[in-house]
């Protein structure tokens, strides 16, 4: 079974530029998550999709971050314009999304995209 795919693996940009990350979840997984992991910290949820609808984006900086999941499969996360503090690893994860509120479900993570903003 193929895992969660993410691209690119690394990205270096200058502040005020824009950048986009792509994620392809495990086939059949209804729930998709984007996390931001700053060096030395635990991942922080940015946005959660159930199929192609957003169910939690409470910690997404909406003035600069946006995400979409067209057709309920793969997803893109965009930052525009980037700031120095956006330097982090961006993790995508997916889960089956069968149970109420995804209770007890394993989240499967991709390898992440390491972003450096100069």
């Amino acid at each position: 079974e193929a895992g969660v795919a993410q691209s690119p693996r690394y990205k270096i940009i200058e502040k005020r530029q824009s950048v986009a990350f792509w994620c392809n979840p495990i086939s059949g997984h209804a729930t998709l998550y984007w996390y931001q992991q700053i060096l030395g910290q635990g991942p922080k949820l940015l946005i959660q999709f159930q199929n192609n609808g957003v169910v939690d984006d409470s910690q997404l900086p909406k003035d600069r971050f946006s995400a979409e999941r067209l057709k309920g499969v793969d997803s893109t996360l965009k930052i525009q314009p980037a700031k120095l503090e956006d330097s982090a690893v961006y993790l995508c994860a997916s889960s089956l999304g069968e149970g109420l509120g995804n209770q007890g479900e394993t989240q499967y993570f991709g390898p992440g995209t390491r972003l450096l903003v100069l």
């Binding site: 910290q41 635990g42 922080k44 690893v89 509120g101 995804n102 007890g104």
Partner: protein, 118 residues
């Protein structure tokens, strides 16, 4: 919002020995899940073990077991017969219960870096 405390930033253990990683959390819910995830140097996060708060019996998965103290809101991870491949960052992550606007969000602790020495 849930808070998660992993009070040991770094731990080390000799191969074949046992080590315990601690985690405390704050929640007002009665039934929920708790997870330990492992992030090796390759950075792909994987599930180690999960516990349902409703169950009194501590979860075990081969060499990994938990000591779940619900009243104390403590969820420690014990690794027996440590192996070199256990070297990783370990994250404790309670899951918010479904209901209202919550869709089973995970809140990750700061992590504990575990190094297994030969």
């Amino acid at each position: 919002a849930q808070t998660v405390t992993q009070s040991q930033p770094e731990m080390s253990v000799q191969e074949a020995e046992t080590v315990t990683l601690s985690c405390t959390y704050d929640t007002s819910e009665n039934n929920y899940y708790l997870f330990w995830y492992k992030q090796p140097p390759s950075r792909q996060m994987i599930l180690v073990i999960r516990q349902e708060a409703y169950k009194q019996q501590n979860a075990t998965e081969n060499r990994f077991s938990v000591n779940f103290q619900k009243a104390a809101k403590s969820f420690s991870l014990k690794i027996s017969d440590s192996q070199l491949g256990d070297t990783a960052m370990y994250f404790c992550a309670p899951q918010q219960n479904a209901g209202g606007t919550s869709y089973g969000k995970l809140t990750f602790g700061q992590g504990t870096i575990l190094t297994v020495h030969p």
